[in-house]
C-alpha cells in the first residue's frame, strides 16, 4: 500500500512471545478436520489476503468469518462511524463504539484484533470510490462486498474485473437477501447483470426505509463467507455458479444460473482490462468535489478536494457555538441551530446529517467550515448513491 490520504490503522500479526493462543495447535483443528479444507487448505488461508468493503452489518460479519478462519490479511474499508441504530445487527460493535462515534473500520479492527492476534488487520477509514478502490484492492486475493448501495458495488465490480479479482456480492434489506460470486473469466460482471447508470435505486427499499433484521444479514454473510473459504483454500471448482435470492421470513430460496461474461463488455469481456483502466481514470478526472445523497438516511456526504486541518476547525466550530464530539478520526459538530450535525473526517469528507438536500448540505459546509472557497469549490457535481 502507498501512503494514504485518510486514516489507516494497521495491526501486525503477533510474533515471538506474543504468539499465545494463535500458536495453539488446536486453534484451527475443527476446520482442518473438515475434509475439503484440511492442512493444505489452512496453509493457503494463512497466506491469503482479503478486502472487506464496508464494515457495517454484512461487512462486520464477513470480517469476523475471515479473521476467525485465520486468513492471513484482512483489510477493512469503511467511510462510516458507529451509531446506536447499528447495534441491533452489526455484530462487532458495542455501546462504547456508538457513544464515541468510532469509525466502523477502526472499531471493527480493534475487536477483530482481540478475536485473533495472528491475523494482520488493516483498517482504512475511507469512502471506497473510483479514486480509492485501486489501492485498496491491490494485492488481495478476494473482495468481499459489505457495502450498502449499488453505485459502490458497481465501482467494486469494475475494479475487480479489471484486476482479475473475484467479488463476492451480498445484499440485504428487510428479511430479504441476495448473493453471488462474480468471478472474472467465469461469470458476467455486476454491471452487465443489473445495468449501470440507466437504472436507479431511488425508488428501491433500503435498510433505512424498509428496515433489516439480523438473521437476513447473517444468512447472506454466511453464503458469502462459504464461497470465500472455497476460493481461498483452493476448492475453486466447488464455487457456486448461481445468484441466490432468499427471504428468511417468508422462507423462500431461489437460485438462478449466472451467465458467462459478455464479450462486448469492457470489464467482463475477453481481455479488455488495459483499456478499461484508462477510461476509468478519465471518468475520475471530473468535478473537484461531490455531494452524495445517502439514501433514506437524511444525510448528504460532501467531499472536499482538500484535507481538513482538524485542530483549526475544532477551534472555529466551538467559536461558532457547535457542540463537539471528537475522536482521533473524526469530529462531530452539532450545529447551534437547525438540528443538523456535521461529521468531519480529516480526508476532506463531511457527512451532513439532518438534510437530504445537497444544496443545503453544501451551504452548511460553507457557512461552518467553508472560510475560503478553495475548500469547497462552487462547481460541485451532485450524484446519488
Amino acid at each position: 500500500m502507498r501512503k494514504a490520504a485518510y486514516p489507516v490503522e494497521i495491526f501486525e500479526p503477533a510474533s515471538g512471545p506474543d504468539l499465545g493462543l494463535f500458536d495453539d495447535p488446536t486453534r484451527y483443528s475443527r476446520q482442518i478436520r473438515f475434509g475439503p479444507i484440511g492442512t493444505a487448505g489452512q496453509n493457503q488461508l494463512r497466506s491469503a489476503s482479503v478486502l472487506v468493503v464496508g464494515t457495517g452489518a454484512l461487512g462486520a460479519s464477513l470480517a469476523q468469518h475471515m479473521t476467525r478462519a485465520g486468513v492471513g490479511t484482512v483489510r477493512l474499508a469503511d467511510r462510516d462511524f458507529v451509531e446506536p441504530s447499528n447495534l441491533q445487527r452489526q455484530m462487532l460493535f458495542d455501546e462504547d463504539d456508538a457513544r464515541d462515534a468510532m469509525p466502523k473500520a477502526i472499531a471493527a479492527a480493534r475487536k477483530l484484533r482481540r478475536i485473533n492476534g495472528g491475523v494482520r488487520i488493516e483498517a482504512h477509514v475511507v469512502d471506497v470510490g473510483v479514486r480509492t478502490v485501486g489501492a485498496l484492492i491491490d494485492g488481495v486475493d478476494l473482495v468481499l462486498d459489505g457495502t450498502d448501495n449499488a453505485a459502490a458495488r458497481l465501482v467494486l465490480s469494475d475494479a475487480c474485473f479489471r484486476a482479475g479479482i473475484p467479488l463476492l456480492y451480498g445484499g440485504v434489506t428487510a428479511s430479504e437477501g441476495m448473493s453471488a460470486a462474480l468471478i472474472p473469466g467465469r461469470t458476467a460482471c455486476l454491471r452487465c447483470l443489473i445495468g449501470g447508470d440507466e437504472a436507479s435505486d431511488e425508488a428501491a427499499d433500503t435498510c433505512d426505509t424498509a428496515g433489516v433484521i439480523s438473521p437476513a444479514v447473517e444468512f447472506v454473510a454466511s453464503l458469502q463467507a462459504a464461497e470465500a473459504l472455497k476460493w481461498l483454500c483452493g476448492s475453486r471448482e466447488a464455487m457456486r455458479r448461481t445468484w441466490v435470492s432468499a427471504d428468511v421470513w417468508t422462507f423462500r430460496v431461489r437460485e438462478s444460473k449466472l451467465p458467462a461474461g459478455r464479450s462486448a463488455c469492457r470489464y467482463c469481456g475477453a481481455r479488455q482490462e488495459a483499456q478499461g483502466a484508462a477510461s476509468a481514470a478519465q471518468e475520475d478526472g471530473g468535478a473537484m468535489f461531490t455531494a452524495a445523497v445517502l439514501c433514506g438516511r437524511d444525510s448528504v456526504q460532501v467531499s472536499s478536494a482538500v484535507p481538513f486541518a482538524m485542530e483549526q476547525l475544532r477551534t472555529d466550530l466551538e467559536r461558532l457555538g457547535c457542540t463537539l464530539t471528537v475522536n482521533p478520526y473524526l469530529m462531530r459538530a452539532m450545529l447551534p441551530e437547525g438540528g443538523q450535525s456535521l461529521v468531519l473526517f480529516a480526508d476532506g469528507r463531511v457527512m451532513v446529517q439532518g438534510t437530504s438536500d445537497p444544496a443545503e448540505a453544501v451551504e452548511l459546509c460553507r457557512r461552518y467550515i467553508g472560510g475560503t472557497d478553495e475548500k469547497l469549490p462552487q462547481d460541485g457535481a451532485v450524484l446519488t448513491t
Partner: protein, 315 residues
C-alpha cells in the same frame, strides 16, 4: 401493485357532464348524485381551461369528501395531485400508465379507458386499478367512437381480473342487457346528471345493479359448490381457454410464480408493462439471469417463467 386494489370497488360510477344540465350548478347536481348513492365521482371536462377545472376539482373534492366517496380526475394528473383527489382516469391516447404511476405513487387509483380486450389486458398488466369498458352503446359524450357492444363486456368479464366498469350510453332502458353480459359495475353520465332528479336516477341504477349482482352471486355460489365436487380447473386449462379468434399475441407466462397473460414479446416490454423500467432489477428467465443489455432482444415464449426481482442493495 397498489394495495387499495382490494378495497377500491363500486357499483355506480358517475361522470360529470355540465352540458347535460345547463342552468344548474355542477356542485348541486353532483351532490344530488351523492345523495342518490353514487359510489365514485369522476370530474371530466374536455372544454374548460385548466384553471377552471382546478376550481371545479376543489369544489368536488370538498363535496365528495363529505360523502366519503372517491374523486377521480379525468386526464389532469397535476390537478389530481393538487386537490388530493383519489386518482385519475386516462384514455388510451393520454400519458402512458407507467409515467402516471410514477407521478402518482402506488396508492392513488389509476383507471384506463379500453376499447378491446388487448387494451384491457395491457392496462391490467401495467398496473391499472380498474378499467372502463366501452363505449357499449353509441354516446354523445364520445361522438364518432364506434360502440364496442356487449360482446366486449362479455370478454372483459371472462378475462379481466381487475375491476371493470361498463360505460357508454347506458340507461335504465338498456342496463339489464349490460349486466347480463357480465358487468357488475356501471358508469352513467347523461342518464344521471341529465335527469330531472339525479338522486332518483342514481337510486334506480343502483337498485338494478344490486338486484342483478345479488342474483349473480347466488348463481356463482351454486356453480362453485358444483365445481368443488368436480375437477379443479388447472392453470393449463386456463391457458388453453384463450380466445381462438384472437389475432393478438397473448402469451401465458409465469411471473414471480403467478400465471399471467401478457402481450409483451420481450423481457423489456414485460418490464415496461409492469411499470418497472428504470428500476434496478435482477431478471431471471427459465432459471438463468438475463443480462441487462439483453432484455430488449430476449423473447418470451408460451410458458416462460420469469422472475423480476428488485436488486437488494442494503448491507
Amino acid at each position: 401493485m397498489a394495495e387499495h386494489n382490494n378495497k377500491f370497488d363500486f357499483q355506480l360510477y358517475v361522470i360529470t357532464g355540465a352540458n347535460y344540465h345547463p342552468g344548474r350548478p355542477l356542485a348541486d347536481v353532483i351532490e344530488q348524485t351523492l345523495i342518490g348513492g353514487a359510489d365514485v365521482i369522476q370530474l371530466r371536462d374536455k372544454f374548460s381551461s385548466e384553471q377552471e377545472i382546478l376550481e371545479q376539482a376543489r369544489v368536488l373534492r370538498e363535496l365528495t369528501r363529505r360523502y366519503g366517496v372517491p374523486l377521480i380526475i379525468n386526464d389532469y394528473i397535476d390537478i389530481a395531485i393538487m386537490v388530493d383527489a383519489d386518482g385519475v382516469h386516462l384514455g388510451q391516447e393520454d400519458l402512458n400508465l407507467a409515467v402516471a404511476r410514477r407521478r402518482l405513487g402506488p396508492d392513488r387509483i389509476i383507471g384506463i379507458s379500453t376499447h378491446s380486450l388487448e387494451q384491457a389486458l395491457a392496462a391490467q398488466a401495467g398496473g391499472a386499478d380498474y378499467i372502463g369498458v366501452g363505449p357499449v352503446y353509441p354516446t354523445g359524450t364520445k361522438p364518432g367512437r364506434t360502440a364496442v357492444t356487449t360482446s366486449y363486456v362479455r370478454e372483459a368479464a371472462d378475462h379481466v381480473k381487475i375491476p371493470f366498469v361498463a360505460i357508454g350510453g347506458i340507461t335504465l332502458d338498456n342496463i339489464d342487457t349490460v349486466l347480463e353480459a357480465g358487468a357488475t359495475r356501471v358508469c352513467a353520465v347523461s342518464a344521471v346528471v341529465g335527469a330531472d332528479d339525479p338522486a332518483a336516477a342514481c337510486r334506480a341504477f343502483k337498485a338494478r345493479i344490486a338486484a342483478h349482482n345479488g342474483a349473480a352471486a347466488k348463481e356463482k355460489a351454486k356453480a362453485e359448490a358444483e365445481a368443488e365436487a368436480g375437477a379443479a380447473v388447472t392453470a393449463h386449462d386456463l391457458l388453453e381457454a384463450q380466445p381462438a379468434e384472437s389475432d393478438l399475441a397473448y402469451l401465458g407466462v409465469k411471473i414471480n410464480g403467478k400465471e399471467q397473460w401478457t402481450t409483451a414479446g420481450t423481457i423489456e416490454e414485460l418490464i415496461w408493462q409492469h411499470s418497472l423500467e428504470g428500476r434496478r432489477l435482477v431478471v431471471e428467465l427459465d432459471g438463468e439471469i438475463v443480462e441487462r443489455d439483453a432484455w430488449g432482444r430476449t423473447s418470451l415464449r408460451e410458458g416462460s417463467e420469469v422472475e423480476l426481482v428488485h436488486f437488494v442493495g442494503g448491507g
